[in-house]
Amino acid sequence: MTQDAIAADRSSVATGDVLYSIRDLSVEYGTRAGEVAAVDRVSLDIRKGEILGLVGESGCGKSTLGKAMMRMISPPGRITQGELWFAGEDLMTVSEAQMREIRGARLGMVFQDPMTSLNPLSKIVDHLTETITTHEPSVSEAAARDRAEQLIGRLGLRVERIDDYPHQFSGGMRQRIMIALALALRADLVIADEPTTALDVIVEAQFLDLLRELRAEFDLTIIMITHNIGVVAEVADRVAVMYAGRMAELGSVDEVFLDTKHPYGQGLLRAVPNIELDGSDLYQMEGAPPNLLHTPSGCPFHPRCPHVMPICSEREPAFAEVTPGHRASCWLFQEHDGEGER
């Protein structure tokens, strides 16, 4: 896809059907020191065909949210409340066996370190054909191999290399193999958790270009989890900003970057190095992200916020629309009596 086509492409998914809907989801980790509220009453709709960027600093709950969407939270973590609607079904109510089926076939996940999900003793071709034949028993071995070869070629790897083992590939190639695995089953939704964080910039850019092409070609919906704000600006149609386990802001990439509402997002954008800007200084945001054992009261950003008002430490703002489709959880955009409640 050309760089010019990206803009047009982005606006075409501005309004789409909802593919996945998260309602009031909370996830906690039980630790010796207490309960960590890693995801705290999050609601979010993912639209069919979009690339949704999920950003925030480390520890804000991005990976936990991604795993919860796959129902892959394991002890000491647990989903304490909420609904997960995927294609008309509440995943919280399906059996573990059904969930395994859905996970393999319709929800794909790509991690930062693909070696954790590839079997080092299996050739790439076996990974692919096995995935295909387990979920589609009617497909013959030969047909599965055909499909695997096509995918490998499509992802820019040489087809001969299909008989190599995972360790023989570079990081960038392994990420392509992970995507191939998701595509082998024609997944509807791919959740990619920091897929480019271990990659160098050129390989990262190649991978992001590929993701955009595949989205169009395979009608994919992608959630791109990353702490890298530049990557989100480059690839996402819509952006969700997380802070302290909660949603801080949500909107189109233009709204969130060019008309940022939440003071956290505003600070973050001015604190991130931008190679294109002329010699401005980086913004010095006060403090550090909070420990989620003790999420601050009211608006969790209030201890670091340059616009803090009395109400901010007392009551939590709603995650409400500022303009249609653009949400922020901040008192600056919501009616209040100015004093806060006793």
Partner: protein, 413 residues
């Protein structure tokens, strides 16, 4: 024992020898045994000769480098590739090498920040470790403050090392978990500043804690590394580096493991410390965007070589090497309106054991000229109209600029 002490003892010993020499020679002459006289005169002359040579060997002339603090010339580090027994037999003992650093030269002026950027595996960290002499070079020289580090013996190198400090990416790995913050910062001073009293050192630690923004100092002094945040740990590592009053700090990805908001704070701190303590930095990073905020000059590495080096602004605004251009253009920009201006190179970095012949970059280069780029190695030469902006590319600064598509009106990759 201090260097002065050793020098006094040596001088004393030589004086005693000389005295014995003079005395016995005189006795020998008086007893007309000239054969012995010559022998004893030798005893006199030898110490004198040694004395005369001593000043020439003194390897720590402070400030001898003048304006230039670090000069690196023709540096190479080739790591032998470990092979299995059978593979070794098959190759008949022929050894392969990873050419981690392959003919690298640069200078850093006093007070300057030189950035070294490039993708992982390009050799940045190895250069850093060679400059600190944590590694011995296969070839080439590192001259710090006028002194060739290779010429220093162990003792002098140890003494010299306090002028150079290092800050790595992961502060948790560089801090001893059983030492308090105060002990960690003070530790190098016990070795390098033995003449200070414990009280003086404690005061120094407090001052440094304050300088790196860890206040109140007495609150942090007795904390352990795991009790403070990641950003604060890196501040501790910086304070520890400063206690020996170094001239040079090699910072190898110093902010890479911090969060965005914390990265900005650490970067600002490093700039402040540089001015306050008259430091010079070799700033190693894979993140080109951050170099913009701290570096005066920048070198771009690819497969063990510097392909472009010059004043940061010049390199960023007028990048010449096709690899530099691709790298700069691939950096993600936090602005959705931004569009990449250069095509991405295809493929990935080749194996450093068998780098491509000629220009290392030619198999991926959008403007490579067949018969030129795949043959001869281009050397770093100045960009026309600039003294200190150097590029190694046949078509940009070499003898084949007439083949450059940017000149002949073709695509300006």
């Amino acid at each position: 024992m201090s260097r002065i002490g050793i020098l006094l003892i040596v001088l004393g010993g030589l004086a005693v020898l000389a005295a014995i020499g003079v005395g016995t020679a005189w006795l020998a002459v008086r007893r007309r045994r000239s054969r012995y006289a010559w022998f004893f005169l030798g005893m006199l002359i030898l110490p004198l000769a040694v004395l005369a040579l001593l000043p020439a060997r003194d390897p720590v002339p402070v400030g001898a480098g003048g304006e230039v603090l670090v000069e690196v010339r023709g540096l190479r580090k080739w790591f032998p590739v470990q092979k299995g027994f059978i593979a070794n037999l098959l190759s008949r003992g022929h050894t392969d090498y990873v050419k981690a650093v392959d003919d690298v030269s640069f200078t850093i002026k006093r007070g300057e920040v030189l950035g070294l950027a490039g993708e992982s595996g390009s050799g940045k960290s190895t250069v850093g470790r060679l400059v600190l002499r944590l590694l011995d070079p296969t070839e080439g020289e590192v001259v710090v403050d006028g002194v060739d580090l290779a010429r220093l013996d162990k003792e002098n190198l140890r003494v010299y090392r306090h002028k150079m400090q290092v800050v790595f990416q992961d502060p948790l790995a560089s801090l001893n978990p059983r030492m308090t913050v105060g002990q960690a910062i003070e530790h190098p001073a016990q070795i390098h500043l033995p003449d200070t009293t414990p009280e003086e050192r404690k005061r120094l630690v407090f001052e440094l804690l304050d300088a790196v923004g860890m206040s109140p100092p007495d609150f942090f002094y007795s904390k352990y590394p795991h009790q403070v945040s990641g950003g604060q740990r890196q501040r501790i590592v910086l304070a520890r580096a400063l206690i020996t009053q170094p001239d040079l700090i090699v910072a190898d990805e110093p902010i890479a493991s911090a969060d965005v908001s914390v990265q900005a704070l650490l970067l600002e701190l490093m700039i402040k410390l540089k001015d306050e303590f008259d430091l010079t930095y070799l700033f190693i990073t894979h993140d080109l965007a951050t170099t913009k905020y701290i570096c005066d000059r920048i070198g771009i590495m690819y497969l063990g070589k510097i392909v472009e080096i010059g004043p940061l602004q010049e390199v960023f605004e007028n990048p010449q090497h096709p690899y530099t251009r691709a790298l700069l253009s691939a950096v993600p920009v936090p602005d959705p309106r931004h569009r990449r201006t250069e095509p991405l190179p295809t493929g990935e970095i080749p194996n450093p054991i068998n780098p491509p012949p000629g220009c290392n970059f030619h198999p991926r280069c959008p403007i490579a000229a067949a018969g030129v780029c795949d043959g001869e190695l281009p050397s770093l030469r100045p960009v026309p109209g600039s003294e200190d902006h150097l590029v190694s590319c046949h078509l940009r600064t070499g003898d084949h600029t007439h083949l450059d598509p940017a000149r002949t009106g073709g695509p300006s990759a």
